[in-house]
Amino acid sequence: MFRGSIAIFFLALILAYSFFVIQSASCYIIEDEWVEKIESYARAIDANTTAEIVVCVFPSLYGHSIKDSSGAEIHDIVKLGVHIFNEEPLEVYDGIQTGIGKKGKDNGVLILIAMEEQQWRIEVGYGLEGDITDIEANLIAQNYLVPAFQQGNYGEGLYYTVVALSQQIPASNESNNLALRGYYYYESVNTSESSSTPFWEWEIFGIPLWVVIIFILFGVFLPVFRRGSSRGSGRWSGGRSGGGGVGGRW
């Protein structure tokens, strides 16, 4: 009897928290279906060309807790793009990688979206600046991203932007025995209140451990830009960029 009421108590807690989780999940912007399409397309690009196209979606340029070297939160989309591209540790399948693209090839592309400010930015790595010029990137964004975003079809707009960008990247003739990145889509779990912990940790440490356990029970992985906690422990360095690319509003 006593045991039964404890079980009911915990069940109620679990239900309450899952309700809470679903509520806060409404800030997830891109539908799972499109995220999966983007991920699988980007994985194929990585396999064929070794280039890495990464999509990052932010609810806002404020409150994401990504800081520059002086410790101030970055509110400028260009600076944020350069920072995420080069210095932000992003989760990959076997650990953490800093720098988008392969090391030495600098063949990464970052698509950055700030929903509230209605700003987009395509940051191109050094190694691809010749294949994806600023003008070409702008043309792609104007043709695929901006119209879809104006209609509210965010996932679709991102997917076709990724496809169009990938068509500019030449296939690699060398055998690709480089590890695939594993993840190409990141979404900031944003809050308007700023957090003092680094953003890639606050889902792990900011939420009580038992809530995380409930997440796992429900088969939902949410940490790191709504990613599962890293499975490997490796730290890798990747490609670099230097502010190349284009940006705008929709």
Binding site: V78, D134, I135, N138, G242, G243, G244, G245, V246
Partner: protein, 193 residues
Amino acid sequence: MKGKIVVAIVAIIAVIVVASFAVMYFSTYNRLVALSASVDEKWAQVEQELQRRYDLIPNIVSAAKAYMTYEGSMLQNVTALRSQWMNALQSGNMDAINNATAQMESGITGLMVTFEAYPDLRSSEVIQSLMITLEGTENRISTERMRFNEAVRDYNTAIQSFPANLWAAGWGFTAKSYFEAQIGSTEVPSLNF
């Protein structure tokens, strides 16, 4: 016998002290060399992007000429600033470069603002492409400038820190100047097409 042991211990300690001093001395020197090289490498990146802007200006000027009948002096001004700026860049004097860059940037800003008054010009595809390239160039310049200044900061901090400050001047390491961003010059005024 006891005296010999004491002598041996003192000798060993002396060797350790001298050796660790030597290691510190040489590693400090090597660190400064590496930091100084990093500054130079980053400056090369900055110069490359400045060169891109330099090459872009004649294209913008010639594309704009067809539309801007009354503001020829504006275009001449930018062209003059461009050569002045190149001279400063070649001289390698950081103050001159900072100064010429500031003038160049305000010249470009003035030109962009003037463009606003010409709807035909703004809607020209050539100009739009050039504007996108210019905007990309400005972003690259500010990124490389930031990295250069960070490298200079690391280098300057290193030569002023103990023990490097004792030897840096003797080795010929002097403080390097920053490439300063003028307030408001980091952003190119955006044209609303």
